[in-house]
């Protein structure tokens, strides 16, 4: 049986802030290539967003919540740092309590970690059904340049061996020891970055290209075999450095470049990017997904699109529904002034 994606759903919070508003407040905007970004509402958090996308992903199949045998939640900004988080989503969906559920919360790689956890479950339980939800709104001090790119978004996938619209061809990972880039010490609420740019870029390119190269080698593929490549987007320029080194061209990156209009989506970056690539794809297309988490590690997943079925809630539809806030409103919503 071939395992793959049977359905997916996307949710983007409705509020946006433009790069010009940052430029007005700070004199510059440090998120390369990002034009505007999505901002979560005061009453939204990563569990409400995860519940919303999970319901949408199930409806897109369609599948009722009682069929879910595995659930995985991914985010770097959950509302609690200790307390099981998945239960909120499962209670919101009405999914069974005997679902094995895990929270993946320590790295922006968490979105693909959760997907791979879902596929591992299916490898052992081929008639099961895994639901994976990534929702994030990364947060740093307003003084920190890495804050500029930080947006918000969510995507969920139903993974199973039935009614697949994209088949998983394989995966590979790479993990290594790096530090100083995007980290949050135990006693702190804000993500930090020491801004050692070249060193961080080295980590990004090394980890992503090693995971991707290993996967291409395993599958006997070349970059030109792929219609789309989705790479982690701390900003809208980072993916190009890794993609170019792997031999991909800019047009292959275009469909999945969600950061241009939504910002850095953290653990939801590659999941939302994958949803955008699926939306743009046609039967026969191949999609390569390469996540990255500082610290550092990367997962690469290869999909082959086998159905033209599209969900009701796509990235383009969600990105188009928006209302702008100014920088002061943004600070209030983020709790930066209170």
């Amino acid at each position: 049986m071939t395992l793959g994606i049977s359905g997916y759903g996307v949710a983007i919070p409705r509020l946006r802030i433009k790069r010009e508003d940052y430029a007005k407040a700070w004199g510059s905007f440090s998120a390369a290539g990002v034009n505007e970004k999505a901002v979560a509402g005061f009453d939204e958090d990563m569990l409400t967003l995860a519940t919303k996308v999970s319901a949408r992903a199930l409806e897109s199949v369609p599948l009722t919540p009682d069929k879910v045998t595995r659930f995985a939640f991914a985010s770097t900004t959950p509302p609690y740092t200790e307390k099981l988080l998945s239960g909120t989503v499962l209670a919101g969906l009405g999914a069974p309590g005997d679902t094995y559920a895990t929270d993946h919360i320590s790295s922006t790689r968490a979105g693909t970690e959760a997907m791979l956890a879902g596929f591992e479950h299916l490898a052992a339980n081929p008639t099961g059904c895994a639901l994976v939800a990534a929702a994030d709104a990364p947060m740093a001090s307003m003084w920190d340049p890495i804050e500029h790119a930080m947006g918000s978004g969510a995507a969920a996938f139903v993974l199973s061996g039935f009614a697949t619209l994209a088949e998983l061809e394989g995966s590979a990972s790479y993990v290594s020891e790096y530090f100083g880039e995007r980290f949050r010490p135990r006693e702190e609420g804000q993500t930090r970055d020491l801004n050692v740019k070249k060193f961080s870029e080295g980590s990004f390119v090394t980890n992503t290209t090693r995971a991707a190269t290993a996967l291409l080698k395993k599958l006997g593929r070349k970059p030109e075999d792929y219609a789309h490549v989705v790479v982690q987007q701390p900003d809208a320029r980072a993916p190009a450095s890794a993609a170019a080194k792997l031999g991909f061209q800019d047009p292959q990156l275009a469909a999945g470049m969600v950061s241009v209009a939504l910002g850095d989506l953290g653990a939801a970056s590659t999941p939302v990017g994958l949803a955008a690539a699926l939306e743009a794809s046609k039967v026969g297309d191949r999609i390569l997904v390469v996540s990255y988490g500082s610290g550092a590690g990367s997962d690469a997943l290869s999909f082959k699109v086998v159905s033209d079925r599209k969900p009701a809630f796509t990235v383009s539809k969600e990105a188009a529904r928006k209302e702008y806030v100014d920088y002061v409103q943004y600070l209030k919503l983020k709790g930066a002034i209170r």
Binding site: F42, D43, L47, T48, R56, E59, T88, A91, G92, L93
Partner: protein, 141 residues
């Protein structure tokens, strides 16, 4: 602040998180929130659980602003501004009260189609109290 204890809130999770109502076995009407005795026929306390669609129409609404929010919603009003509180007539019949989100308060109208989704309602003692709010139907799940 309108205090609702943790165990009391916990008992109402099915209705607050996913709109589980009670259908009267005698008259067939749906009670939401659940009641001990059917509020429609006053003649039965036997119910079957039924999950409501969450879809409905705005029956009436008001806007809360200018410092008029109760304490548990004061921070929300300060940070997010004026917010609408609606009475929604659900497809299944019951009329329920709830905040409206994802909408410019100026755009709320009587009769507008809405759908419920899970949101943060307020926080007490460090615990997030989740529950449903209504959002415009086209943006709903």
């Amino acid at each position: 602040m309108a205090h609702v204890s943790v165990p009391m809130y916990w008992r109402t999770i099915p209705q607050r998180y996913r709109l589980v109502g009670m259908q009267c076995k005698k008259c067939g009407k749906v009670n939401f929130p659940p009641k001990g005795v059917c509020k429609y026929c006053n003649a039965s306390s036997e119910f079957a659980e039924v999950r409501l669609s969450g879809k409905g129409k705005v029956h009436t609404f008001t806007l809360i602003g200018a410092g008029g929010a109760p304490p548990e919603f004061a921070e929300q009003e300060k940070a997010g501004g004026v917010y609408p509180v609606t009475i929604v007539e659900l497809e299944e019949g019951p009329k329920v009260i709830g905040q409206m989100a994802d909408v410019n308060p100026k755009d709320v109208t009587i009769g507008m189609p809405v759908r419920a989704e899970l949101r943060r309602i307020y926080e007490e003692e460090g615990v997030v109290r989740y529950g449903f709010k209504f959002v415009p139907l086209e943006g709903g799940a």
